[in-house]
Symmetry: none
C-alpha cells in the first residue's frame, strides 16, 4: 500500500504508457510509491505501462489512482506543486526542485498532504492546470536547451524529495496551527465567488471572461487560506448577496 | 568548443547509440558539453546517437573524444569519479552525487581536470574501471529497487554539478514580476470589503464584530496580493453590489 506520508506524483493527461511505467520506475528508485493519473490518453490500465514497470515497479501502477481531471486529483491535497518551465506570467511562487521538496517534506512532516503535477509529454501543463497549484517547480536548466522527458522530470523531484532524511527537516507550521483549506475547499469557494460574479455580469467583455476567471482561480489557490477563512468568505458572500432593503 | 572548465562525462563501453544521444541531451540540459566515449559497442560515429541528440545536442557528440580504454580516457584528468551502485568492496571514498559535484566544482575552480565514469547499460562499471577512479559516486536509492538508466545517471550528476550555478539565476520568490499591492492598497480594500459587510449586517452578534473584522484584515494582509488582484477585487465587489433585478 502506498504510504500516505509521501507526496503524490500526479501525471496529468500522460500520452504514452511507456512513460507512465518509466515514471513509476523513476519514483521507486527513491522509495516513492504514490502515483495518480489524470485522464490518460490511452485509458487505464495500460499494458505498455505495466510492461515498462517490469515487475518491481508494478505495484506503483496497481495502486495508482485515476482521476477525470486535475481538481479531482488534488481534491485531498493541502498543497500542490506544478512542474513547469512556463507559468511565469501567473503570480505564483517559483521553487527549485530542491526548495520545493524541502517544503514538501516540511509540510508532510506537519501532517499535510502534498501533490506534484507533471504535464503531458509534448505540451506540458496548461495554465488551467497550473492555476490549481499553490506553487511552481522549475528545474534550473540551460536557458538555450530544455529537453527533460516525463520520467526525467519525475526522477529529479523524487531524487530531491528523498535526498535528505525526514528527521532533518525543521518543523515550521506555516499557518500557526490553523487547519489549512483543502483543494476542494478552495475549489468550492472559487465556484461560489465566480458564480455570483457571473450572475452579476462581472465577466465582461465575454472574450476576456476566461482570463478573468483564470486570474481569480489562480489568486485563491495562491493565498494559502485556512479552513476557517474559507468559511468566513462563504458567509460574507452569502450575506452580501441577501436581498436588500 | 567544449569548455575545459567543466567535468568530462565519460561513457564507458556504451551499447546503444540512442543512450549516447540521450546522455548528450541530459548533459546539455544543464549546460554541460564535455563528453568522452570509451570503446563504444557499435563504433563511432553512430547515426542513432546523432538522431537521438536531434540537432541541438549534436555538437556534444561532434566534440566527443573517443578512446580505446579507460586509462586513455582519464589520462589528462586530475581527479576521476566512478558512478556505480557497487564497488563497496574497494577501499575508495563514496560520495553522494551532491557531495561529488561539490568536490568537482571545487577542483575545477582550482584549475584541475575532473572526469566522471559511467558504465555500460546492462552491467555497469567493472572493478577494473573503478580502480582507475579516485572516488565513487553512489546515488542514494531505494535498497530494494535500483533501475537508473544511463541517461538518468548522467542527468543526476549533470543536475548536481549545475544546480548551484544555475540556481543563482534569480527565481522569483513570489509574484513572478507582478507589482505587489502596497499596504495602503490592502488597507483600502479591507475598508471597502468591511464596509459592504457592515451594511449587509454581516458582523453579528455585535460583541463578535471586532474579532471578525480582525480576522478579515489579517487574512487580506497575509495574502500577498498583487496590485491588479486588488483592483480586480474592488471591481468584483462593486459589481456584486449593483442594484439587482
Amino acid at each position: 500500500m502506498p504510504d500516505p506520508a509521501q507526496p503524490a506524483f500526479i501525471l496529468v493527461r500522460p500520452q504514452m504508457g511507456e512513460n507512465i511505467g518509466a515514471a513509476a520506475r523513476a519514483m521507486l528508485n527513491f522509495g516513492l510509491r504514490r502515483m495518480r493519473i489524470v485522464d490518460p490518453r490511452d485509458g487505464w490500465p495500460n499494458p505498455k505501462a505495466v510492461a515498462m514497470a517490469s515487475g518491481a515497479a508494478g505495484p506503483v501502477l496497481d495502486f495508482a489512482g485515476v482521476f477525470a481531471d486535475v481538481p479531482a486529483a488534488v481534491a485531498d491535497c493541502d498543497f500542490v506543486f506544478a512542474t513547469t518551465a512556463r507559468g511565469r506570467e501567473l503570480p505564483k511562487p517559483i521553487y527549485t526542485p530542491e526548495a520545493a521538496m524541502t517544503e514538501a517534506r516540511r509540510r508532510i512532516v506537519a501532517g499535510e498532504k502534498v501533490g506534484i503535477l507533471f504535464g503531458p509529454e509534448r505540451t506540458g501543463l496548461e495554465n488551467d492546470d497550473i492555476t490549481r497549484a499553490n506553487a511552481i517547480i522549475t528545474v534550473p536548466v540551460n536557458p538555450d536547451f530544455f529537453s527533460l522527458n516525463l520520467a526525467q522530470a519525475v526522477l529529479l523531484s523524487a531524487y530531491e524529495y528523498s535526498r535528505h532524511t525526514l528527521e532533518s527537516v525543521p518543523l515550521d507550521p506555516g499557518l500557526a496551527g490553523h487547519e489549512p483549506a483543502t483543494a476542494v475547499d478552495v475549489e468550492k469557494w472559487g465556484d461560489h465567488f465566480e458564480g455570483r460574479l457571473e450572475e452579476a455580469g462581472f465577466f465582461h467583455p465575454p472574450e476576456k471572461a476566461p482570463m478573468m476567471k483564470r486570474n481569480l482561480r489562480n489568486m485563491w489557490t495562491r493565498f494559502a487560506m485556512t479552513r476557517s477563512e474559507v468559511q468566513m468568505l462563504h458567509g460574507a458572500l452569502k450575506q452580501l448577496m441577501r436581498p436588500r432593503g
